[in-house]
Symmetry: D2
């Protein structure tokens, strides 16, 4: 799990006074980029090795508005990884008081640079292994537990 912090930009607000809901989808991407980089399988690495990971689905639940200049912490974790589908979950909280701003998820497949689906397990087993190692197996781990249970509640 990785923590990414995004500070809300003025241009991300809308006339309602808070962040427009399309930006949370972008924050999820920012956090995912940082997360995968920390794992050693960054977008750049993957593209250099001939892999794209298009988004095949996103979902976001908005709990509290986020406001200009607030720092939003985004927790990222892999929630499932089947042969052709990677699912990543996000939890966005306001740094100042821990308020839950939003939860979300994104689903990804993997393709070669021409867009043909690939199974990482066959084509890039090392990357497959890195991602698989992030699956929430160690939920008995004390620090992980709260996330796991909150993740279960989400379903």
């Amino acid at each position: 799990m990785q923590v990414y912090v995004h500070r809300v930009h003025y241009y991300e607000t809308d006339k309602m006074g808070c962040v427009h809901h399309s930006n949370h989808i972008r924050w999820m991407e920012e956090a995912r980029v940082a997360f995968l980089e920390e794992l050693g399988v960054s977008f750049r690495t993957m593209e250099a090795r001939g892999i794209y990971s298009p988004v095949v689905g996103v979902e976001c639940r908005y709990r509290h508005p986020a406001y200009f200049d607030e720092e939003i912490q985004i927790l990222v974790r892999i929630s499932s990884f089947e042969t052709l589908r990677l699912k990543i979950a996000y939890e966005m909280t306001r740094v100042s008081d821990g308020e839950l701003i939003a939860t979300g998820s994104s689903e990804h497949c993997f393709t070669d640079l021409t867009g043909r689906p690939i199974a990482l397990k066959k084509t890039h087993p090392d990357i497959d292994a890195v991602l698989r190692a992030q699956l929430p197996l160690s939920c008995s781990d004390a620090q992980c537990a709260p996330q796991c249970s909150s993740a279960q509640n989400k379903k």
Copy 2:
């Protein structure tokens, strides 16, 4: 049901060569704005009458990439409307060949301008009635039927 057409802008593409997935969330809003205006309950009308309808959730499934300059037709319909929740469904297809680009949904609550939740049925029964009349009751209607069934397939 209303049909809204969005032409893909250059600035909506990303380095993968097609539309970045965050833009579909914005297109859903564009189509929703046009849909509600056609019903006579536009954002402007609602805000003038003291109503905000914040997004409490969004979800989008991406079927095919959309490319620069393509015209994307967005079908909008109300899929459910309970006391405090309005759910709207979207179907995005490429105009040139009818290819399904994405399906999505958004959920909304209603608040006064200070952010307090309101039940339209009590505070603005006329607006409540307009929205309620859009619920997919008349699925025996010939023109509606294909949409309804495609909506059922989605679930």
Copy 3:
């Protein structure tokens, strides 16, 4: 000269209540795309023929705020075209009352798909001719005159 109309989206507003100033730069691109298409030298045509036209400079002066749902008309014209530089000018007015919202300009060079600068006159003389024909030569023309003079005032 071509007229392009952009309707202001909710997501283009910011917490000040009106359109965020970065969007006018995007509207200029939208209008430029439509303008070049009308001339028969669309982005798609140019890219298909191996030409990119990167933006090397932009400039925008904001006269009046634009608000959600307003229709903004954007006049586009080529203001200068030297061997390696194309300069395009924009005038954005509110459709409802003709209020001038903003004026802007963009400068472009031309490159091949690898990013090397090219002189259209040599590589694609037909496209060069189409653009050159748009230069404001016929300023004695009655309809053009107001634009020309307003353009001069801008300087």
Copy 4:
């Protein structure tokens, strides 16, 4: 002068493979926000004291493309401040090799929260003084000199 670093997001790229030019305008705002905060006259402080500072003009020159995941350093400085106009200059360079990506400027007026222009000197002399103290008076200063001269070259 303040240094702000922006890391290029995937969603900021376009199909040409590099950052879309509208984003540099947003980066200038990000850097301006950080700069004014460091001076103790943040957007939030100003708005809390009844001041908006709308953008009345922007300008940007693009020297080299910026690519996904690159760190871009943005130098900000006040280039002029007359009674009703504040002009801020920006220099964007790639952190990895110091390559100049773009230079830009923005012009601002000040208004009260209803949009009426105000002269900070009269209404908020303390804020006026803070901004005025940033004017490039000390150009004999060794560290400042290169910026000043590069700024002069820009004109």
